[in-house]
């Protein structure tokens, strides 16, 4: 039985941890949990994701993060998240820019249990120098062809926080619509917190493959409208006014 209260789940996160969150930009971010995390007083976290938006922005606005590794921070039509931009320009956060293909390779390596993963392209970008300096990427020779190829060290976040449509008390979870890299995030992370619109009985998943198996999950939190004001596929759209207010006010 992994059904827990928010306070109990927050104990899974420690000062200095690297976290990753579900969704993308202004869609299916675990916003309810993020506001509890902000209130908890836990600080100095690192954040890793591919294309985050609102979740990242409010964590930065509330001084929860010290390091951010993302391929793009974007609020869709609203543009670059203003607190992300300000904090980066003032040196309040360290930004390590990633690349979508490289993040995917790294989170795959983390999920697959291998030390690194090759990815095509990217070589020629100044980002290679940035990542080689922190030992997260390396250009090697393909052992079979001798061609240059980029490799990405396995990404293993300490905690993944994933908002889903349905979950049972054992942690089995279902996501509808776009999935992004959420399954890989859950498999690669050391601990997984699921927040769910709806808690279903264990019968719901019998004989089927859940989007995320309860095996990987440490805590399930019932969290209706838990992605608000970001969207939840099939349930609610982004609330642009509220998003604007959270970012600019």
């Amino acid at each position: 039985m992994k059904l827990k209260g928010v306070d109990e789940a927050l104990k899974l996160i420690s000062e200095g941890d690297t976290i990753t969150i579900s969704g993308m930009s202004i869609h299916r971010n675990p916003m309810s949990f993020i506001s509890s995390l902000i209130k908890s007083g836990i600080r100095n976290l690192s954040f890793i994701d591919r294309e985050p938006g609102l979740g990242l922005e409010v964590l930065i606005k509330n001084h929860v993060l010290k390091k951010v590794r993302v391929a793009m921070a974007i609020m869709e039509w609203i543009g670059t998240p203003p607190n992300f931009r300000r904090a980066a320009e003032k040196g309040e956060i360290e930004v390590i820019e990633d690349v979508c293909g490289a993040f995917m390779a790294g989170i795959r390596a983390g999920a697959f249990g291998v030390p690194f993963m090759p990815v095509r392209g990217i070589i020629g970008s100044d980002l290679v120098r940035i990542h080689e300096a922190i030992n997260s990427w390396k250009v090697i020779r393909d052992p079979f062809t001798g061609d240059e190829i980029l490799t990405v060290k396995a990404i293993k976040p300490d905690v993944a926080i994933i908002h889903v449509h349905k979950a049972d008390p054992e942690g089995n979870a279902e996501i509808l619509g776009p999935i992004y890299e959420d399954v890989l995030k859950a498999k690669a992370a050391r601990k997984v917190i699921i927040t769910t619109e709806e808690v279903v009985s264990t019968d719901y998943f019998k004989g089927r493959e859940p989007t995320i198996s309860g095996y990987y999950v440490d805590a399930v939190i019932k969290s209706p409208k838990g992605a608000y004001p970001t969207s939840m596929y099939g349930l609610y759209e982004p609330d642009y006014e509220k998003i604007w207010e959270m970012v600019f006010e």
């Binding site: 993308m24 930009s25 202004i26 869609h27 299916r28 294309e51 993302v70 391929a71 793009m72 921070a73 974007i74 869709e76 039509w77 609203i78 543009g79 670059t80 992300f84 931009r85 980066a88 320009e89 040196g91 930004v95 820019e97 990633d98 690349v99 979508c100 293909g101 490289a102 995917m104 990815v119 095509r120 392209g121 990217i122 070589i123 020629g124 970008s125 100044d126 980002l127 940035i130 619509g177 776009p178 999935i179 992004y180 890299e181 890989l184 969207s231 596929y233 099939g234 759209e237 982004p238 642009y240």
Partner: protein, 262 residues
């Protein structure tokens, strides 16, 4: 050339503003590069390419595979209206889910034909900057980041870059930071601005002017360009037809597309 000028005069009156004229001209010329049987991907904050795709698919009835960041595969968007999110999950609701992981694997397999990126700085050697203005460690301006550009720019067969603020600050001799370099690839790369369409000339390693938009003369182009561009034979960009303008306005009645100009 004459017929294009006549078309401009003929249809010019349907425009509400010069801003729409600029953006819609870019959209229809991008849509002309979306061909039958292509695999096409549209990313986040990409209303211009999304409109070009919708135009090619639902007005011009071209048959191609449309993948996107909302993870909807070939969604039926015939009655779609643009929202502030080009990654709107509703797009997935109108198709089947095809993840970006799988779409990008297609690119690694050499099966992705076309992708679009907005770049803040573009230099004469074909380097693109979407990361920072100034120094990477202490940036004067921290930009959103390049997303997939460094990855996909070398893998797709045709790459479309847009920057609708052409000036000596955006089209430069040398970018502040190379988010992505197109030099290593041998694909086709087009650059769309508010003034012109350019194509990267692989033989000379420089951009070549393909066309000027109808309201632009070569002096204006040159004074708004900080890069050494090959200017030889060029034409006038095609302007949208009334049918295309009506289609674009129906899909984007709130003119969300104009934000690229500001």
């Amino acid at each position: 050339m004459d017929s294009m000028n006549r078309t401009t005069k003929k249809y010019g009156r349907w425009y509400l503003s010069r801003d729409e004229e600029i953006v819609d001209t870019v959209i229809v010329n991008i849509s002309d590069l979306i061909e039958e049987n292509m695999n096409v991907y549209v990313g986040l904050n990409s209303h211009i390419p999304l409109l070009a795709v919708l135009l090619a698919k639902f007005l011009h009835k071209r048959d191609f595979n449309f993948f996107n960041v909302a993870e909807g595969y070939n969604p039926d968007l015939s009655g779609y209206r643009l929202t502030p999110s080009s990654g709107d999950p509703e797009i997935a609701e109108m198709g089947t889910v095809f993840t970006s992981l799988d779409s990008f694997d297609l690119a690694q397999k050499g099966e992705m034909d076309l992708m679009f990126f907005g770049a803040v700085q573009v230099d004469e050697e074909g380097n693109l900057n979407l990361s920072v203005i100034g120094n990477y460690d202490k940036p004067k301006v921290r930009l959103s980041g390049g997303a997939a550009v460094a990855f996909l720019s070398q893998l797709v067969k045709r790459l479309i870059i847009w920057n609708l603020k052409q000036s000596k600050l955006s089209i430069v001799k040398r970018v502040d930071f190379i988010t992505s370099s197109i030099k290593r690839a041998n694909n086709e790369v087009f650059l769309f601005t508010d003034l012109s369409i350019m194509k990267f000339d692989r033989k000379y390693g420089r951009w070549r002017l393909i066309s000027l938009h109808p309201w632009v003369n070569i002096e204006k182009f040159k004074e708004s360009c900080g890069a050494d561009v090959i200017v030889e034979e060029y034409s006038t960009s095609r302007v949208p037809t009334k049918e295309e303008i009506d289609f674009i306005n129906r899909v984007d009645p709130y003119r969300l597309r104009l934000s690229v100009l500001y």
